[in-house]
Assembly symmetry: C2
Homo-oligomer: 345 residues x 2
Amino acid sequence: MTTIKDVARHVGLSVTTVSRALNDFDDVSEATRARVRAAAETLDYHPNAVARRLQRRHSSTIGLMIPLVLHRSFDIFWLEFIGGVAAACSQRGVDLLVATADAHDDVGQGLHGLTRGSRVDGLLVCDIRQSDPRIAYLQRHRFPFVAFGRTTERQDYPYIDVDGAAGVMQAMAHLIGLGHRRIAYLGLDPAFGFSHYRFTGYMQALRNAGLTYDAGLSRVGLGELSAPAVAAEVLGLPDPPTAVIAAADFLAQAVLKAARALGLAVPGDLSIVVFDDSPLVQHAEPPLTAIHQPNTRLGEEAAGLLLDRVAGPDSPLVQRLVVPSLIVRDSTAPPREPPAHSSAY
Amino acid sequence: MTTIKDVARHVGLSVTTVSRALNDFDDVSEATRARVRAAAETLDYHPNAVARRLQRRHSSTIGLMIPLVLHRSFDIFWLEFIGGVAAACSQRGVDLLVATADAHDDVGQGLHGLTRGSRVDGLLVCDIRQSDPRIAYLQRHRFPFVAFGRTTERQDYPYIDVDGAAGVMQAMAHLIGLGHRRIAYLGLDPAFGFSHYRFTGYMQALRNAGLTYDAGLSRVGLGELSAPAVAAEVLGLPDPPTAVIAAADFLAQAVLKAARALGLAVPGDLSIVVFDDSPLVQHAEPPLTAIHQPNTRLGEEAAGLLLDRVAGPDSPLVQRLVVPSLIVRDSTAPPREPPAHSSAY
DNA sequence: GTGAAAGCGCTAACAT
DNA sequence: ATGTTAGCGCTTTCAC
């Protein structure tokens, strides 16, 4: 391992000068800088990052906590998100430390170990719950962080999130524009912020369109296990929906299967919009109209926000909402029969 | 930030003693150890990892280079793999640094930056090509590493890999056992080691079963773009296959679609086996018989191997091959007509 | 423009 | 059983 001392010795200068030459200080002569550079090159010298960190008192590293197998089908999302974070880090010359959040022991070991010991300058916390103790923990300890996702409580922390409500409202507008009036909503566990906000968009759109809320048509808290039964149940209602919004790809898959079992044509008898784009969604039969999030870019931006925050901890609070886009594919069409109430006119 | 000095001052001992007490040296009295522990607790002291690394001359960190959006549909695999690596690291108390490999500039900046500067003690390189310059680079620089995947050349380095050939041979045995004789193979870019070995298994199985190789039935080098056309082409052959092995989920999807377009029933008219399990595969219509890899466990083992290697660089070379398992679902059945040549007997 | 000296926070000989 | 001293590799006052 060649150190700065070796370089200094090689060019017959002090380590100080070598350090300054290599770090582009302007008080070192061009000639010297060149000599030092050359020496560093021939000796294959690369500064020891650890020593530098100790001296500079920051690690030039950020931490990323990702959920561990929480929502299996969101895999694509997370991988692309991580890719974005990694790319942003690499571009700005900082290291990325990845830790997985144990489902249960969030504030415990996980966070504690990461925030202590000066291993990371800041933390990107993901998969925020409606009420998330990690936020409070980080605030209390004044540890620089950015959340990817939002709680539904007091939001006095920096975050970036997808505007799930706006996404669902776009989907609803699309469906309502096609003539649908009975639109079902299949959602995930509302304990997660993103799940809550998506449902919020559904309710809001209903209200905006003057449609009445039918409790039988909106089911939340669904998982991979309950999805098939609930989908069948909703489609089998006496007065069934003509369209359904599924808050995740596997929910849409369940709806698709239930429709097939009931002999319902998609999109003829039933329209489907799904939140979150994925191979499963794109390769479905038919390919599904989807609310699409810019996964990689979200990662890049989240990392960027955190890096800015780390650089200037007293910078103003940044809270960014990214509006997803609706990609219309082949699973949405006008309802077969005209809506019942229109015959009254 | 509270340092070891603060603790020492607080208990009225030297930093040395505090260090030894906290690191469980046996030459410190129980009473002292207790006092020190208590002080550390009340002062909320956590050793500075960076300082410790500088002193110990290793970083207790390993690096993981993952492919950046190379094979889009393998997302699930990589995420679970990363999860396994992260879990193993966390369990053994080391940090995980994640870097993405730019598709083109592999040996260039990417590796160089990671291996230099003492930021990681070892590297896990993935997605190995048939001939991969990164291996040579790491060997030349005597940098501790473990490969996840194999080259097809000289293998004088530690690796862990899935035995792709064995996997495909299992699939072939299953198909041949059902009575299939015309079995097509749809493969990926053979430049990647895993792709090469999978195809190898196909050829070997053909030979073992005494089946003749039909060039029209095996197509490799396929991507998301070329897959649909090639699948249609192969299924539309004058003497079409009764079964096909797809080396990736999106290839199987393409086959499924082509079959549907041609009015072929799966598995009645056409059996399909896919390499790699994924939501896309499980939710397909019908759910596909698949060659399944233990994604998370592969990550754990890969990390374990690297950590062992880092601990003892002169330990014997470990090369581990993991045999995947065949999961029989609903896409495989005996061929409709008895194989043509059997009528000759 | 360059160098000497101090120190980041910790561990590890080597005393005692 | 505890303390003294040195040093990991680097950056940074402060001199000259």
